[in-house]
Assembly symmetry: C2
Homo-oligomer: 211 residues x 2
């Protein structure tokens, strides 16, 4: 319990720091392989000419995700958690200082692929976005409720695969709304580009609301 208290204390500091620098901070969470990095790469290509953007990557091992972000030209710092299964506020604070981003714009934090622990570790972000791939099944919000309870937006990704899986979109959204009645929902595909515009609009609405 002391770990959570200490973490939440540092997260509060982060939140003030982010607000001071007018950064809109998004914490991206999902199961491993739902498409966080793929979505980020597409998003950076589209928005980096409109806003300054930075990325903090979290993974147990490797810099594979940061390498994909680097290819877009956007500044990125990779955190390796070793045996840890989630990012914590203290390491995010250090990574943020390392990035030394110009004021205003967007900061994405890609968390470790895990539907459980990231729900309990506040990083200081303004928005938490949870991604479900339609290949994972439509009952995830009921089975892993905490992370949905804490999310502002649910993205259903890989909708190009809907014809080949048993996934009931309406049922999944209904399941998520049972856990978090106010959750926004977007359906998209990073592969086909389907409905990515709606995601860019959601992001823009969050950035402009900060200014």
């Amino acid at each position: 319990q002391d770990i959570l208290k200490r973490n939440n204390h540092i997260a509060e500091h982060n939140r003030q720091l982010f607000r001071h620098h007018q950064h809109t901070v998004i914490n991206l969470v999902s199961s491993p392989g739902s498409g966080k990095t793929t979505l980020l790469v597409e998003t950076l290509k589209q928005l980096q000419t409109e806003y300054p953007i930075g990325v903090i990557e979290g993974d147990q091992q490797t810099s594979l995700d940061a390498d994909r972000i680097k290819e877009t030209g956007v500044p990125v710092v990779q955190i390796n958690t070793g045996k840890g299964c989630h990012l914590e506020a203290d390491r995010v604070q250090l990574a943020y200082e390392q990035l030394a981003l110009p004021d205003s714009g967007l900061l994405f934090i890609e968390n470790v692929g895990n539907l459980v622990c990231p729900a309990h570790f506040d990083l200081g972000e303004q928005h938490r976005v949870v991604i479900i791939s339609v290949t994972e099944g439509d009952t995830k919000p009921l089975k892993y409720p905490d992370i949905f309870h804490q999310a502002d937006l649910l993205i259903l990704n890989k909708i190009d695969l809907l014809p080949y899986v048993d996934f009931d979109v309406a049922q999944c959204i209904d399941n998520a709304r049972r856990i978090q009645p106010n959750i926004d929902c977007l359906q998209l595909s990073c592969r086909s580009g389907d409905n990515l515009q709606r995601w860019y609009q959601w992001l823009t609405s969050k950035v402009t609301s900060l200014e």
Copy 2:
């Protein structure tokens, strides 16, 4: 650290208990939604006439997975971990006592969907099987190495979806072998039934080697 020591102590007790009752115990781990329960349901339908089988289910919330197992007629106990993101040996011991299975045969433990923590919590099982869905990407063994390091068998599931995703089967197996050189690998689809026979043969070889 004390948590791990206590857990490993109880796991050792479990292992002796399982051996005493001649149960072949398999710990199934994966990301959320890779197909653990679907694989189990198919397997129980096929093998329950050949061996006595029992199942222990682990999830944060709900009995949705245990309900799917119950429909096959095989005895099952559901453990809900609440805020916990992995099963531990003490609760598995209680569930095992609750199942009160006849001697010999198979016990499956479906762990909580998580590629990190389950690697560090021994439950007393003889075999650990890790499942990757081909929709998750082929770099998972490098990014989440601990769980592959501890596995006897890697199953690549949902191969019916290969035509629609970027997944390099040979590369993924090579990545897994870099982490665990002796790991066995099977490719299958629970949906099409493709190559499930190889999985049944692998299981049978483990049961008979115990007798």
